[in-house]
């Protein structure tokens, strides 16, 4: 599924190296978590994989099912099955949530050579998915993320994920700004999407989310590198002892 080898990335504007050789291998059906202190490069990794401007790849590669991701436009990566749940979902005044979802779903279907969903089929699908995430009709009608609470924005991300049915889901601090109930709702949404053919990369600061979304592998990232990988117990260790021991161990 997602294969990253020796990925090195600089900030385009300033000559600052953020990722200094990241290796990662996420297989279909697996859930990987990345934890790490602030500024370790976790979010950068998610942006670079999804194709955001402002970063320069200076070495290494990233492939999704063998296809080079880094060469593609963001929309092509999405059509290839990559999805990023944003840490800060963007507000888009003037674009209805429903219009946004339908445009995205149909753009991806078109890119894959599939027929566009009819308005009726789309509506049926979106209503069922929204209900599971406790997203009401009003939220679907409102402009994308405008006036949404933090929890509503994150649930809206998961709704998009559910509608777009990506192969590889990257979640960038989806738990930030969520209360316990909202986190449970989001985690249930993600767990419902877990399947043999789909993989998740969950970026988080806290063990709490991983209580709900059980990872197969946990990676610790620091200063642009993965310094340690292990099972779920690694997350517990971070929760109890912080990063200091792990960082000392690595250096």
């Amino acid at each position: 599924m997602l294969n990253i080898k020796g990925l090195k990335v600089d900030l385009e504007e300033e000559e600052k190296s953020i990722l200094k050789g990241v290796d990662l291998d996420v297989k279909a059906g697996e859930v990987h978590a990345i934890m790490g202190p602030n500024g370790s490069g976790k979010s950068t990794l998610s942006y670079v994989l999804s194709g955001k401007d402002g970063y320069e790849v200076t070495g290494g590669e990233a492939t999704l099912d063998g296809v080079d991701l880094l060469d593609m436009e963001p929309e092509e990566r999405a059509a290839a099955g990559l999805f990023l749940a944003f840490q800060y979902p963007v507000e888009i005044p003037g674009v209805g949530n429903m219009t946004f979802l339908r445009t995205a779903v149909n753009a991806q279907r078109k890119a894959r050579g599939q027929e566009e969903l009819s308005a009726g089929d789309f509506l049926k699908e979106v209503r069922a998915r929204a209900k599971d995430l406790k997203i009401d009709a009003d939220m679907l009608k409102r402009p994308v993320n405008v006036g949404f609470s933090g929890g509503e924005k994150k649930r809206n991300e998961i709704l998009q994920m559910a509608m777009l049915e990506p192969k590889m889901c990257i979640m960038d601090e989806t738990d930030s700004g969520l209360d316990v109930d909202a986190m449970k709702l989001v985690a249930d949404g993600v767990n419902a999407l877990r399947s043999e053919g789909r993989a998740f990369l969950v970026i988080t600061h806290y063990q709490r989310l991983l209580d709900h979304i059980k990872p197969d592998v946990v990676h610790i990232m620091s200063e642009g590198r993965i310094i340690k990988s292990g099972g779920p117990e690694l997350a517990l260790e971070v929760e109890n002892n912080g990063y200091a021991d792990l960082l000392a161990e690595a250096s």
Partner: protein, 426 residues
């Protein structure tokens, strides 16, 4: 006072060619006065305060430049069930038009109209009133020389809109149309306009809205690339009346829309809005609005949005004048541009002039680019860049389109815009 030399020469040259049309005879006096008015004021020049951002020379010149005829005989507003009046190259086409009758409404063709007292009183009078404090000589020239147009009197709630459908057949048509509309007390009517009228078009629409009456106006200005036009709307509105006008402009070389509204009765509402998309360095679009509050508790809105790219130029000159005693006025004005590249320009001159001490007036003007954040968000969901840009462009214009009360008409224009953007992607 003598006019500046260049202005005098240009005015003399144009007025020497001006022909006062034969019909209707009752308008003769108003036309002659208007011609004198135009001669006295002189036709606009780039040095005039309200023409600093827009070069009027192509509108003033004796000859109009030909413009390629584009098949713009579209079906816009066809679902509105309107009473349709067709003009070809600025000439009324009775065969293509509906019968000039409808419930709650009286319509005549200007060129053939009998001496109707309300029209005689109105023809040229709102244009004359609108010359103060800012002179609008092209409107006076229009009053003098207009060859065709319609006179509409709404006596009740008109059961269908009136749609003026403009078509072109000649490359060099230079058309001058003058419409006069009177909405009687408690009556209401909707006027629609669409299509490409001529290579060069001048229109004046005088609208008198009586107490408790309502006038709605939705227009789409022709999509042909080469046309040049100037339009003037002069409105005088009474107590508890409503005046709402919306304009969508796509293409064209030069468009200047003047809208002058006088709010003379208490509790009146006047909204003027527009959306335009300009593509290319030849595109120049100017909205000039002047709203005068001269009564209590009036509410006015000016909402203008322009999307400009590839060197297009957009202009907004908007004024709210609140006269002494026009207390409790609520005036709002916003003009915004979305500049899709570094070559395009938006020039805005918002003005407030307030002589009453208990009013709420606000105005704003902004220029911005497409939000990179929003663009990436859309693309990360699989929406290709050009489609995402179009979606954000439509979203930007949505606020202006929301000014249209009738949802079906707004949807018609939204579709028109979306189609245009699809065809002109990138």
């Amino acid at each position: 006072m003598a006019l500046p030399k260049l202005k005098q020469e240009a005015t003399d040259a144009r007025l020497a060619e001006a022909v006062l049309p034969d019909g209707p005879a009752w308008a003769r006096a108003a036309r002659e006065e208007a011609l004198h008015r135009a001669a006295r004021m002189g036709l606009p020049h780039r040095r005039d305060e309200y023409w600093k951002f827009t070069d009027p020379s192509a509108l003033v010149a004796v000859d109009s430049a030909p413009a390629e005829v584009m098949d713009d005989d579209d079906a816009l507003f066809e679902g509105a069930g309107a009473l349709t009046l067709v003009f070809v190259d600025g000439v009324f086409d009775s065969d293509a038009s509906d019968d000039l009758s409808g419930a709650g409404i009286e319509i005549s063709r200007l060129a053939e109209a009998q001496d109707i007292s309300w029209a005689r009183d109105l023809y040229g009078s709102l244009e004359l009133a609108g010359q103060t404090p800012v002179e609008r000589p092209l409107a006076a020239l229009n009053t003098a020389t207009a060859t065709d147009g319609v006179l509409i009197r709404a006596t009740g709630k008109a059961d269908r809109p009136v749609c003026l459908r403009y078509r072109r057949s000649a490359e060099d048509a230079d058309a001058v149309l003058h419409h006069v509309i009177r909405v009687e007390e408690g009556a209401s009517v909707t006027l629609l306009e669409t299509g490409s009228a001529a290579a060069r078009l001048s229109t004046v629409t005088e609208v008198s809205v009586a107490d408790g009456a309502a006038f709605h106006h939705v227009r789409q200005q022709g999509r042909d690339h080469g046309r040049r036009m100037n339009t003037h709307t002069f409105a005088r509105i009474g107590a508890e009346s409503t005046f709402k006008s919306f304009t969508l402009s796509l293409n064209g070389v030069l468009t200047r829309n003047d809208c002058v509204i006088e709010m003379l009765g208490d509790d009146a509402v006047a909204h003027v809005a527009g959306a335009c998309v300009g593509d290319g360095e030849k595109f120049h679009h100017d909205d000039t609005v002047f709203i005068t509050h001269d009564a209590l508790n009036g509410e006015s809105r000016q909402v203008f949005k322009k999307v400009l790219r590839n060197g297009a130029v957009g202009v907004f000159q908007g004024k709210i004048l609140v006269k002494e005693g026009a207390q409790k006025t609520d005036g709002y004005q916003i003009s915004q541009s979305l500049l899709l590249d570094g070559d395009s320009q938006f020039l805005a001159k918002p003005e407030l002039e307030i002589y009453a001490d208990d009013v709420a007036c606000s105005h704003g003007s902004t220029s911005g680019a497409i939000s990179e954040e929003a663009l990436f968000y859309l693309r990360s969901r699989g929406v290709p860049e050009s489609q995402a840009t179009n979606l954000l462009t439509l979203a930007f214009l949505a606020e202006a389109l929301e000014e249209i009360d009738d949802d079906a008409l707004a949807d018609d224009l939204r579709e028109r815009l979306a189609g245009w953007l699809d065809r002109h992607a990138g």
